[in-house]
């Protein structure tokens, strides 16, 4: 008995060691760019390692005073929120139709929607550039909203569809005999029932959107439409060389909101990412 108890204690101990090491491993980059962000620039480019760097807010002040960082942040937030709203407005009815209505080619259409995600973005980059130029949308956050929405629409549709398919059809039959129209059923029964799925899809879309770089670089040519991800690139060229501590801080700014949201909904997130492969 006693030895068994000790063995269990040991295995628990080993488990903790492994988990803690893994946690530190994952956290290391965050600590690393925080430590770079808050040290003076001279300490970054010395060849000797510095174990106890000097704390400095130089970079912090620089990104806010020398660059229109508030504008970048605002662009990012507006473009992302706008794109997620567009995605949800389009994806929820589409997902409902794909989950519930029986029609010829339903699976093909579903797959076609998903397949838009499989294409290398660079293939369509030039056509999209001309498209937005002709529409007069270059260098606007409207263009960013549209392109982010287009990129994420397939994934958002599929996640929401997988949640909808898990709802018993009895619920809709009941609402129908109770006198509800299809739109009412969608609005009052289905959407509240799959709210976790909708939030998950929205967060996944947010994460993709905040990391989007290629199309943003293509569309944005002035601070008018620069987002955080493209702003990062501003610190690499120019007469000042690569400004590592500013890069680290901007990356951190982009990382924090996503991190907080993911922590808040992590329970739902793992399900959303399996795209309905495992039905609950």
């Amino acid at each position: 008995m006693a030895s068994q108890r000790r063995r269990r204690g040991e295995s628990l101990f080993i488990r903790y060691i492994i988990l803690v090491s893994w946690g530190l491993f994952c956290l290391a980059p965050v600590v690393w760019f925080l430590s770079i962000g808050f040290r003076p620039r001279t300490e970054i480019i010395t060849p000797q390692p510095i174990y106890w760097p000097t704390f400095s807010l130089d970079a912090w002040h620089m990104i806010w005073s020398d660059w229109p960082m508030a504008q970048y942040l605002r662009n990012s937030v507006l473009a992302i929120i706008g794109s997620v709203v567009i995605d949800l407005i389009l994806a929820i009815p589409a997902a409902y139709a794909l989950a519930r209505y029986r029609f010829r080619g339903r699976e093909d259409i579903g797959f076609y929607i998903l397949s838009t995600r499989m294409m290398a973005p660079a293939i369509v980059a030039i056509p999209i550039f001309f498209l937005f130029r002709n529409m007069g949308l270059l260098d606007t956050i409207w263009a960013l909203m549209l392109i982010y929405a287009a990129i994420n629409l397939s994934v958002v549709t599929w996640i929401i569809r997988s949640y909808m398919m898990d709802i018993p059809t009895e619920l809709e039959d009941a609402a129908r005999t109770d006198g509800a129209s299809d739109l009412r059923i969608l609005w009052e029964i289905i959407i509240p029932a799959i709210l976790p799925g909708i939030i998950t899809a929205a967060v996944i879309a947010m994460i993709f959107a905040i990391n989007e770089f290629l199309f943003t670089l293509l569309i944005a040519s002035t601070p008018n439409a620069y987002t955080l991800s493209v702003a990062l690139a501003n610190f690499t060229g120019g007469s000042d060389g690569v400004i590592y501590n500013a890069i680290a801080l901007v990356a951190f700014l982009a990382f924090v909101p996503v991190f907080l949201v993911v922590v808040a909904i992590q329970k739902h997130l793992s399900r959303g990412l399996t795209l309905g492969a495992v039905k609950g």
Binding site: L171, D173, A174, T177, D178, G179, A180, I189, A193
Partner: protein
């Protein structure tokens, strides 16, 4: 408060048949039970009455009006589902109110009706809870309240009790029957449980393979089955069905010999005997068998006899006990014997 007529109703999905040629006339205020094994077409027939499925052929009328093209939400039927189908995001109060809201009943009226319906199923104190916070029986009562709240023309109940445990099922059965009599609403009830069918129904519609096998009162279905399917489906334990042969008014099967039976000529015939129409008697001539198992239940003892290649169920006196393989002789009530054509399964009268 409606009469429902089904005329030549069929349902198929391509080559897959759900329901074949159903003709049925359900009277106003009647409680009709569709009874049959799973996949017999009973739920599909009910869903067609609800308007959730379109018939491939035939007509469905309510009070004489053809309903085929009327949408489910305009049919004024209320349905209770096996899985309760309560809206999980709404409280019980909001659930019960939902059909009233959809039909634009005045607000003050809504509140009164919801409370009335909830009181009828004794749920008054749970109105502010979400469905997840209720037990199975309470959820089923909430579903029932949602159905009765707007006093529909027709109630449709799709196996409403099969998710409940046996004790609760019995109590809910009585409650459903009471409510139906009290509200006097035409009701169609679907079940695979013959006890539910027998206890609830004004008339039972026995279905199999998408077709109606027999329509009748519980007594008729029990005492006068139309074929081997109905005979074997109703009763617990069910009727014993023993294939044999007749010749010159004598039925023979391994271990069984019956004289002066109603079937004439020489043909393959299946004998049907209910377990309660058999009597274990020393020296009886109708059947010889060996004891296969004895199951005392308290008020009655079930005896299983090995007769030729078949097992034969007998309802014996509650004191009856026997040893394994002990030989027994059994007499039948001669006026309670049923004969069926072995080939078609139809009753020979």
């Amino acid at each position: 408060m409606a009469r429902i007529e089904l005329t030549g109703v069929q349902k198929n999905w391509g080559a897959v048949w759900g329901v074949r040629d159903v003709n049925l006339d359900i009277a106003d205020e009647e409680l009709v039970v569709f009874l049959g094994p799973s996949g017999c077409g009973k739920t599909t027939t009910m869903r067609m009455i609800a308007g959730l499925e379109d018939p491939s052929e035939g007509e469905i009328r309510m009070d004489g009006e053809v309903m085929n093209d009327v949408d489910a939400r305009d049919r004024d039927v209320a349905m209770v589902f096996q899985g309760y189908a309560l809206y999980p995001n709404m409280t019980i109060y909001e659930n019960i109110r939902f059909p009233l809201r959809m039909r634009a009943v005045p607000k003050a009226e809504q509140d009164r009706l919801v409370r009335e319906a909830a009181d009828m199923v004794e749920l008054g104190e749970f109105l502010m809870r979400k469905p997840a916070a209720l037990s199975g029986g309470q959820r089923q009562r909430a579903a029932l309240a949602r159905a009765i709240v707007r006093q529909p023309q027709v109630f449709l109940m799709d196996e409403p009790l099969s998710n409940l445990d046996a004790k609760l099922r019995q109590a809910m059965r009585v409650q459903i029957k009471h409510l139906q009599r009290q509200l006097r609403i035409t009701t169609v009830y679907v079940t695979h449980d013959q006890i539910e069918a027998m206890t609830l129904a004004d008339r039972i519609v026995v279905m199999e393979g998408g077709s109606i096998q027999q329509i009748g009162t519980p007594d008729q279905i029990y005492a006068d089955p139309a074929n081997t399917f109905v005979a074997g489906f109703i009763g617990s334990p069910p009727m014993n069905l023993i294939p044999g042969h007749t010749s010159g008014g004598v039925f023979t099967a391994p271990g069984i010999e019956l004289k002066d039976i109603i079937v004439t000529g020489e043909r393959a015939v299946t004998l049907g005997v209910r377990p309660e129409d058999c009597h274990v008697e020393p020296g009886a001539a109708d059947m010889h068998g060996a004891v296969y198992g004895v199951e005392p239940t308290g008020d009655v003892t079930y005896l299983s006899l090995r007769v030729g290649p078949h097992n034969f169920e007998v309802k014996a006196h509650r004191d009856y006990r026997a040893n394994l393989d002990q030989p027994e002789t059994v007499a039948f009530d001669s006026d309670r014997l049923y004969f069926f054509d072995t080939e078609t399964g139809d009753r020979i009268r």
